[in-house]
């Protein structure tokens, strides 16, 4: 056996792939190989992010990695019969993975290794460009690292799009002896899963990004605050952290640099508001996750009262390539003030849902039709919600909007964490508006009256509208409530819930009426 290298077969362990049956496929492949006396190396990679093809099985052949998809357990014997280990012909053979248009046309910088490598192997990580960024950073002064991040134009990917370099500079300039790096892995927005895919498919990339952040601001302790709904990511992160410690990439004296960085994962407990940074910090401290007044900024007085860098998973995972390839390389992607790439998540009623990392500037229409392939149901796409439950509903007339923070703001929408949820024409937009209010009521931290009470009143009022009761007056009540929430809320949960509600009213008014004539007559 020694002369012949055994064939590598990749079956994703990504949660979405598992939900579509990847585990039993992996088991069946291993069993069939054993039965036939063939030695294979089964690698459990992340997902390439093409969900209609999951479970997507890849074989490393002399001619590159060949995909078969979507594979069911029942297909496994047939695949062996067709000599898929040599890339043989089969009805499920998709061909060279790298040539699939959906992937080939992307700009995979942050996601370069996701689906490619063994997520838990430090060796594989390094073989694919990992730890180059940290190695460079360790040779720099903290201020130089921060400067690279500033020059790259990287803005926070968690939603608010605040320049990462400015935040880091604020923390660097404090004199505290204890500072923290906190990763916001709460990913609560519906329609988003890029954090999850990265943490499952390339956790070392996040670990490296956080370690660079530590070196940049002189912080020695990091926490990843992970939502409890992500059990697979939890396992992947803990395993990767343990492997990084063993290999000397975490802990005291990282790779002989004299720098220290310790890292730990903490679980949330099912509260959307804990994605808001100050609420998250309270939760990490073991308290109720209530939003804090700002100032003080977390950068000055954050976790346990100490200066804290808090960034989203994708923000931190984009840092290694910036340090490795230099700021200009990253900055040269994108448009306007939106530099670099965005891992976009295509979700909801689309044929080709998945992860599309593209330079800013691609249009919503290209994403929905060229990548997304139109609706899953085959019916016309009527509305699209971008940026999670606090994002506006966009009608067809806005589909040519470019993915760019400022372009979205200009049409009253929000890019947020880059989740795109498509609805076909069976959607009832009054029902969607009602849900937005209901979600706010369920998840409110309770600190502000407009958010806590206003949202419940919003649900009741929209119910009246849907029953046809005094539609015109009740629409005015909803508009009023939205205004109160927008201006009387401490954070964006209460403050932005009006966006989905008002956009539904504005662009899809027909779903909120018209007032039935018999009622009009009665008035």
């Amino acid at each position: 056996m020694s002369a012949v290298q055994c064939v590598k077969v990749y079956v994703p362990r990504d949660a979405a792939a598992l939900a579509l049956g990847a585990e039993s496929v992996a088991t069946a492949i291993a069993a069939e190989a054993r039965k036939r006396g063939i030695e294979i190396e089964l690698v459990r990679n992340g997902s390439r992010g093409m969900f209609w093809l999951e479970p997507l099985v890849e074989v490393a052949t002399r001619g590159g990695r060949i995909a078969y998809a979507p594979v069911k357990t029942a297909d496994v014997t047939g695949l062996f019969d067709a000599k898929f280990l040599d890339g043989g012909a089969h009805a499920l053979r998709v061909g060279a993975v790298a040539e699939i248009a959906y992937l080939k046309q992307q700009d995979r910088l942050t996601f370069a290794r996701v689906g490619v490598i063994d997520p838990l192997s430090v060796e594989d990580y390094i073989a694919h460009g990992g730890y180059r960024g940290l190695t460079r950073a360790l040779a720099m002064a903290p201020g130089e690292i921060v400067q690279q991040v500033t020059d790259s134009g990287l803005r926070g990917r968690g939603g608010a799009a605040f320049p990462a370099g400015i935040k880091w500079k604020t923390v660097l300039d404090t004199t505290s002896t204890q500072k923290y790096i906190v990763c916001n892995a709460d990913e609560g927005d519906s329609g988003t899963f890029s954090d999850r895919m990265l943490m499952e498919g390339d956790p070392l990339c996040l670990i490296e990004g956080m370690t660079i952040a530590g070196a940049a601001v002189d912080a020695t302790q990091g926490y990843i605050y992970l939502r409890s709904e992500y059990p697979h990511a939890y396992r992947a992160l803990n395993a990767a952290i343990a492997n990084a410690y063993t290999a000397g990439w975490l802990g005291t004296d990282i790779r002989g640099s004299g720098k220290r960085f310790d890292l730990e994962v903490r679980l949330g407990a099912g509260a959307y508001i804990c994605g808001e940074e100050t609420s998250l910090l309270d939760s990490l401290e073991g308290k109720r996750g209530q939003v804090r007044f700002k100032p003080p900024l977390p950068a000055i007085k954050g976790l346990f009262g100490q200066p804290t860098v808090i960034n989203n998973v994708i923000t931190l995972a984009s840092v290694p390539i910036i340090l490795y390839r230099a700021a200009e390389y990253y900055r040269d992607y994108g448009v306007g003030r939106s530099r670099g790439t965005l891992p976009i998540q295509l979700a909801g009623n689309l044929k080709h849902t998945g992860l599309v990392e593209k330079a800013f500037g691609v249009t919503l229409r290209e994403l929905l039709y060229d990548y997304g392939g139109g609706s899953w149901s085959g019916r016309p796409i009527r509305a699209v919600q971008v940026g999670g439950p606090l994002g506006a509903y966009m009608p067809e007339a806005q589909f040519d909007t470019m993915l760019d923070y400022e372009a979205f703001a200009a049409v009253g929408a929000m890019l947020g964490h880059g989740g795109i949820v498509a609805f076909d024409d069976s959607v009832d937009m009054a029902e969607q508006a009602r849900y937005a209010m209901e979600f706010c009521a369920v998840e409110s931290c309770g600190k502000c009256t407009p958010c806590r009470i206003g949202s419940t009143r919003g649900v009741e009022t929209i119910d009246k509208i849907r029953r046809g009761e005094r539609v015109t007056e009740n629409i005015a009540v909803v508009e009023d409530l939205c205004n109160t929430m927008k201006f009387g809320s401490l954070c964006a949960l209460g403050g932005f819930t009006p966006y989905p509600v008002m956009s539904a009213l504005k662009h899809f008014k027909e779903d909120f009426g018209p007032l039935p004539t018999h009622l009009e007559a009665a008035e």
């Binding site: 329609g191 709904e229 990490l284 849902t353 998945g354 899953w376 989740g419």
Partner: protein, 172 residues
């Protein structure tokens, strides 16, 4: 209970059965030295017992130098923590937008009707507790649901739901 300190033993939590008490003490001992220990402790208690018994709050509070009201405030704030025992299996149904776009509302109605329960309730045979969840990160292949700690399912039609429930019921 080797690791239980005498002062711990002196706290009266008469209503907490001995086996539960031991589990709570183990959870406390495993995490008490960590900064912000309360959430990790509550997770450990729930992982061990399936819920966080009301009768355990005084013990946790005492050990962390908090008031019982503070601990209660934290437990009740987070949707994840339960204060009563669940059924043998917990089915978490995603209610969020991306799943709505693929039929989650119809699935929710079907689930409640066939199980004969509402959210946060348990079937009469004690097999299934139904909980809502707001996104499972599986938004490209909804409707999604999660059974117990990590069994995630995609594209759950009413028929798939029935099969999953039947399977869970059979699994003791």
């Amino acid at each position: 209970m080797k690791h239980a300190q005498p002062r711990i033993a002196s706290i009266q939590s008469a209503d907490l059965p001995e086996s539960q008490r031991a589990a709570v003490l183990r959870a406390i001992e495993a995490h008490r030295e960590r900064p912000g220990a309360l959430l990790p402790i509550l997770h450990a208690v729930q992982d061990a017992l399936g819920y966080v018994p009301q009768e355990s709050l005084s013990l946790i509070a005492h050990e962390l130098n908090l008031t019982r009201a503070e601990v209660h405030g934290v437990v009740s704030f987070y949707h994840h923590f339960r204060s009563s025992p669940p059924g043998r299996h917990i089915v978490r149904l995603c209610r969020a937008e991306a799943c709505q776009a693929l039929g989650a509302r119809a699935l929710e109605a079907h689930a409640k009707k066939t199980l004969g329960i509402d959210f946060h309730e348990t079937t009469g045979d004690g097999a299934i507790t139904l909980e809502p969840v707001y996104c499972l990160g599986n938004c490209g292949c909804g409707p999604s649901l999660l059974i117990d700690s990590d069994k995630l399912h995609a594209r759950v039609t009413p028929q798939v739901f029935d099969a999953l429930v039947q399977q869970a019921r059979a699994e003791s």
